[in-house]
Symmetry: C2
Subunit: 577 residues, 2 copies
C-alpha cells in the first residue's frame, strides 16, 4: 500500500489526554480514533496488527484442540438470570430492553453462552473433554476507561471455554492452555510475559492465573520474588509476617492519649513502634450496611479484595454513627461491644504487647496480649503484601512489587456455571453428573497496545515482525529523480510479487517528514532509496530499532530484505517453546 | 478434525419452526443454535464457512483498493443525531443509555462512523478518492426475524464506504465495486446472483442496486424481463401502462350504484371494465395524519414504498371520519372537496372514459375524462408492476415477478451524510466542498444461508468447495477392521500434512448414520474407506452431489482427491470474471 492512500493522519504533538506512550502513539500514528468514552474505531494499521494477533491466537487455540465458534454480542437477560449474574454483576454489565421490552445484555464474557451452546453435545461422558473459543466484540461498561486500548469499554477478545468430567482432566488441559498462552505472547513478540496466580474475582472458581506484561505504565500491581520466581497478584499473594522479635508480654494498661487518633500519632505519643500496634480499619457491607472491623498491624494496609472474598460481600468505608457503638479513632479489640463483624489479620499473630484503641475517646491500651486477653481468636490474611516482605514460597524477605498489564487470564471455573445452568452429562456408570469448566481470555486490542508499551522508543512503536502492520517500509527520498523513483518502484513491485507486505512512501515530502511517519508506523524493516546511495549503486536497509543499518548493493536488495525478515522472524521464534 | 470431536449435534427430524430449507439444515446439521429471537450462536462448521466467505470478501475489497478498518458496535447517540438518523430511524435502531445515562445505539450500519473516521484524512482533495470497509457485528432490532440466518437481528456484515470529489468519480468506483461484488458471489459458488436496480430506502441516495439470488424461498419480489434482461426491485420498477385501446370519450353521468363500494362490485354492476375504472386508495401520513388519496386504475395496486418516496412521509391505511369530507367507497376525483393530498397514478393517463366514485353515498360517475373534466393533472407512478406488464426498458409485455434473497447491496449515497455531518474538503482551487459517498454491504451469514438455499438436496447442503467447512469428508466404515482403520488413518494423516481440510469420521456407527451426517455437513469431496473396496485395493471417491462417484486404487487416492478438489475449484473459478 502507498502511504499516501492510507486513511488516517499522523502528527507530532503528543495529545494532552494520553498518559501512557502506547496510547499517545496509537493516536499520533493514525492507529485508532476516539469515538466515545472507551470506544475507538481502528484505522487500517491497527486492524492489520489485531488481525495478525488474532491469527496467532487462532493457530495456538487450534493446536490445543480448541474449536472456533461464535457467540452473539447481544444476549438475552434470561441466560444471565440462569447463572445468577444478571443480578450479581454491577453496572459494567450493560443491560437494556429490546423493542419488545425483553431484557437483553451486551456480552462482557460468555460463560453462559458457552454452556448454552455445548449443553447437548456435552450430555454424554463420551464427548468429553472438549473446548470452544471465539474471537468477538465484547462490551464492558467500565466506570473509568483509560490508557487508549488498554482499558476500554468495547474490545475484541478471544474467550475459550473447556468442559471436563474431572478436576484432574481440567488441570491437565489448563496446563496445556497455559503453554499455548506462552506461545501466543512469545509469537506476538513479548516472551517476557509472566503468569501470576490470581484472585478470580467475578468469574468465580478457585485457581486462576493472570498473564502479566511488566511495564511501568501497567495498572496492576504484581508480587514477585526474584529469589524463587514466585509471582501472584496482590489479591492472591499471602502476606507472611515474622513477629518473632516483638516485645515481651506486659500488663494491659489504659492510657490517656488525648486527640491521638491515627496509629502514627499514637505511636509517636507513646513512643511505641507501629509494628507493635493494632490498627482498626472499619467498613460497612454494601448489602446490609453491617459494620466490619478489621484489626491489623499498624504498618499494614487492608487489601479489600481479600476482605471481600473472605466475607462474601462488597464493602465501603464505614460511616461511623453514634448508634454504631464504635469509637472512631480509638477503636480496639478489647472491650469492643459494637455490633460488628470482627476480623483479626494474621499480621497481629504472635505479638504479645500491642498498643490499641480502648473504645473510649482519648484512651488507648498498651500491653494487649490477644491470646491472653481475648482468648483464641482466628487470624486471617486480609493484608496487602509490601516490598521487602517475606516471600510466601521461599520464606526470604525478597518480595518486590512491580507494575504490569494483564494481557490474558486463565481460570479453573469448577461447576459455577454448569451447576447454576443445570448442564449435566450421563457418566459411564449411567449416573447424572455436572461437568467442570475452565475459561481462558486474551484481549486482542489490549495485547496490541501492550506490545507497543513494551516495544517503542521516543519516536514510535517498534512492532515485532510477526504482528507488524507491514513487514517493509519503503521510502523513495526523491520522487522527482527518475532513477530514484524507478528503483523504488522496482523494489515495491518485486516485494509485492513475492507476497511481502510493503508500505511505500512515494510522496514528495522532506526525508525528515517521511522518517517521522515511518517511525510512527513502526514497521520493522526499512528500505530507503535515495540519490546519494544510488550514485554508488547502493540502497539503505535498516531495522526500525537501528540494530541493523547498512548500505546494500541495489542488485542484492530484494534478497537482503528477505534475509532480514527471516532473521527477525527467527529472533521471535527462538522464544517460542 | 474428527467428527466425534465436533461440538454440536445433528439430527434427522426437520424442526417445526423452520420454514425454509437452509434454516432447517442449519439447525439439523449443527451449524447454528438459537439463542434468542433473531440471535444465533454459530457452531464450528458455520464459523468455518463464514470465515471463508469473509476472506473472499476481504480479498475482493482489497482488490478495489478498499482498506479494512473497524468501527465500534456500540456508537454514541450523538453521532446519529448529527446525521439526523437518531430521530428518523424506527425501532429497528436499538437505542439505550450507558451507566452515565449517555445515549448510545447499536450500529446497524456505519455511515456516521465512516464519516467520523475519514473526516481528517478527507480534508484535502489530494487524498481522494478513497474507500474503507469493515467486517463486523451489527444489530438491527427487526420486528419479525425469520428464516434462520436470512433475517436476523444480530449479524456479521461487510460494509464499505467510498468518498469522492465528483459524481463521475463515484460512478466509476461504483462500477468497479459492482464487479468486485460479482466476483464475491461467483467465488462463493452462486454466480447466478443478479444485480437489480432498487429503491434506497432509509440509507438515502439515488442510484442503488441490490444483489439478488433468485430462489423460491426469497422474501423479496424482483421484476425481471427475459426479453431484454431488465431487472429491478418492486419499488424501483417503473410501471408502464398502455391505455391506447380504451373506450372513446362519453358524457360525464352520475349513476345510482347502491351499496357498490368496491371496484369489482361497481364494474360488475355497471358492466364496465376494471381497466377503465378509477379506484381511490386512501392513506394518512404518519406524522401529520393528513389524508392522501391515490387515484389509480382499478386493476392496479399501490406500491407504498413508491408512494412514501414521493410524499416524503410514511403512511398508514386511513381511518375515514365524517369530518374528513371523504366518502368511503364512493370517493372519486370529480367534485372532490376533502382536505387531502390528491395523487393521480400514471395508470390512469390516456383513459377518456372512466368509472369513478361520485363522492356521494351510492353514486358513481361514468364517462369521466380527466383531461376534459379536471384539466391538466400531474400523473405519477405509484403502482405495483404486474406479471405480464410492459417492460420499462424494451417495451414488451414481458415482465416476470420472481422471488429472491438480497445478498448484497450498493448505494450511491450522494452528500446525505457528509453534508449533515459537515464533512468538507479543500478543493484544488482552495474552495471548501462536500464529498460524495457510496456505500456497499454484504451480510456474511445471510450469504452463507443463501448459498445453502440455492445449493442443497433433500439430504442437506452441497457446499461449494470455496466456502465448504472442510474440503474432504473421510469415512472409515469399519473402525474394528484393522486394515480399514489403518488405511483411513493413513489418508487422514497425508491429507492433513498436505494442508487439506478434512473432517474424519472414525466412529463405530452404521454406514447409513455416517452418510446422513456427511450429507448434513455437505462437504464437497467424500472419501469412503470400507473393507469391501479394500479387498480389491480400492477406495470410494465421490462428490457430495454424486456427479463424481468412483472406485480409486488406494495408492492413487491422495492424488485423486487433490485432482478432484482442483477441478471443483476450477468449476467455481471459471465463473469469476
Amino acid at each position: 500500500m502507498k502511504i499516501r492512500n492510507l486513511v488516517g493522519t499522523r502528527f507530532k504533538e503528543r495529545p494532552a489526554d494520553c498518559v501512557i506512550d502506547s496510547h499517545a502513539f496509537s493516536v499520533r500514528g493514525g492507529y485508532v480514533k476516539y469515538v466515545s468514552n472507551g470506544i475507538f474505531s481502528l484505522y487500517n494499521p491497527m486492524k492489520r496488527i489485531t488481525q495478525k494477533i488474532e491469527q496467532i491466537i487462532r493457530e495456538e487455540m487450534d493446536s490445543v484442540d480448541c474449536q472456533e465458534v461464535m457467540f452473539p454480542v447481544v444476549l438475552p437477560g434470561s441466560l444471565w438470570e440462569q447463572s445468577g449474574r444478571y443480578e450479581s454483576v454491577g453496572e459494567e454489565l450493560l443491560r437494556f430492553t429490546d423493542r419488545n421490552d425483553a431484557k437483553m445484555v451486551l456480552g462482557m464474557t460468555h460463560e453462559e453462552a458457552a454452556v448454552h451452546l455445548a449443553r447437548e453435545y456435552g450430555s454424554t461422558y463420551a464427548n468429553y473433554p472438549f473446548s470452544i473459543y471465539q474471537i468477538q466484540t465484547k462490551f464492558r461498561d467500565e466506570a473509568r476507561p483509560r490508557a487508549g486500548l488498554i482499558r476500554v469499554r468495547e474490545f475484541t477478545m478471544k474467550d475459550a471455554y473447556s468442559f471436563h468430567t474431572s478436576q484432574e482432566d481440567l488441570e491437565q488441559y489448563y496446563d496445556k492452555m497455559a503453554k499455548a498462552y506462552d506461545r501466543v505472547f512469545a509469537r506476538a513478540g513479548i516472551p517476557e510475559v509472566i503468569s501470576v496466580k490470581s484472585d478470580s474475582g467475578m468469574i468465580g472458581g478457585s485457581v486462576s492465573h493472570e498473564y502479566m506484561l511488566l511495564v511501568d505504565a501497567g495498572e496492576d500491581s504484581i508480587v514477585l520474588c526474584d529469589e524463587c520466581g514466585y509471582s501472584a497478584n496482590m489479591e492472591a499473594a499471602d502476606n507472611t509476617v515474622d513477629n518473632s522479635g516483638s516485645a515481651a508480654s506486659a500488663e494491659l494498661t489504659k492510657v490517656y492519649t488525648p486527640e491521638q487518633k491515627t496509629i502514627e500519632d499514637v505511636c509517636n505519643f507513646l513512643n511505641s513502634k507501629e509494628e507493635e500496634s493494632c490498627k482498626a480499619v472499619i467498613y460497612q457491607k454494601n448489602m446490609t450496611d453491617e459494620y466490619v472491623v478489621v484489626f491489623i498491624r499498624g504498618d499494614y494496609e487492608v487489601n479489600e479484595t481479600k476482605l471481600v472474598n473472605l466475607i462474601g460481600d462488597k464493602v465501603h468505608a464505614a460511616e461511623i454513627t453514634l448508634e454504631s457503638g464504635l469509637c472512631a479513632g480509638f477503636c480496639g479489640p478489647y472491650n469492643q461491644n459494637a455490633k460488628a463483624q470482627i476480623i483479626y489479620d494474621k499480621s497481629l499473630e504472635g505479638i504479645e504487647n500491642l498498643v490499641c484503641g480502648a473504645n473510649e475517646v482519648d484512651y488507648h491500651y498498651t500491653g494487649l496480649n490477644i491470646k491472653r486477653d481475648l482468648g483464641d481468636v482466628e487470624f486471617v490474611d486480609v493484608a496487602k503484601i509490601k516490598t521487602g516482605g517475606i516471600c510466601p514460597c521461599c520464606g526470604k524477605k525478597s518480595i518486590k512489587i512491580s507494575r504490569g498489564i494483564e494481557v490474558g487470564n486463565i481460570f479453573q471455573l469448577g461447576t459455577k456455571y454448569t451447576e447454576s445452568m443445570e448442564m449435566t452429562y450421563t457418566a459411564e456408570d449411567g449416573s447424572s453428573k455436572t461437568p467442570i469448566m475452565g475459561c481462558y481470555g486474551i484481549g486482542v486490542g489490549r495485547l496490541a497496545a501492550s506490545v507497543c508499551e513494551a516495544k517503542h522508543d521516543d519516536r514510535g512503536p517498534i512492532w515485532p515482525i510477526t504482528i507488524a502492520p507491514w513487514q517493509v517500509h519503503l521510502c523513495c527520498l526523491r520522487v522527482d529523480d527518475a532513477e530514484c523513483k524507478a528503483e523504488a518502484e522496482r523494489i515495491y513491485a518485486e516485494l509485492l510479487k513475492d507476497g511481502i507486505e510493503v508500505i511505500y512512501d512515494d510522496r514528495d515530502v522532506r526525508p525528515g517528514f517521511m522518517f517521522a511517519d515511518a517511525d510512527l508506523l513502526g514497521v520493522p524493516v526499512r528500505c530507503v532509496v535515495g540519490p546519494k546511495g544510488l550514485a554508488n549503486g547502493e540502497i539503505e536497509l535498516a531495522t526500525r530499532d537501528k540494530s541493523v543499518q547498512k548500505q546494500v548493493k541495489k542488485e542484492d536488495i530484494i534478497a537482503e530484505i528477505k534475509n532480514l525478515i527471516a532473521s527477525l522472524r527467527e529472533d521471535i521464534y527462538k522464544n517460542v517453546k
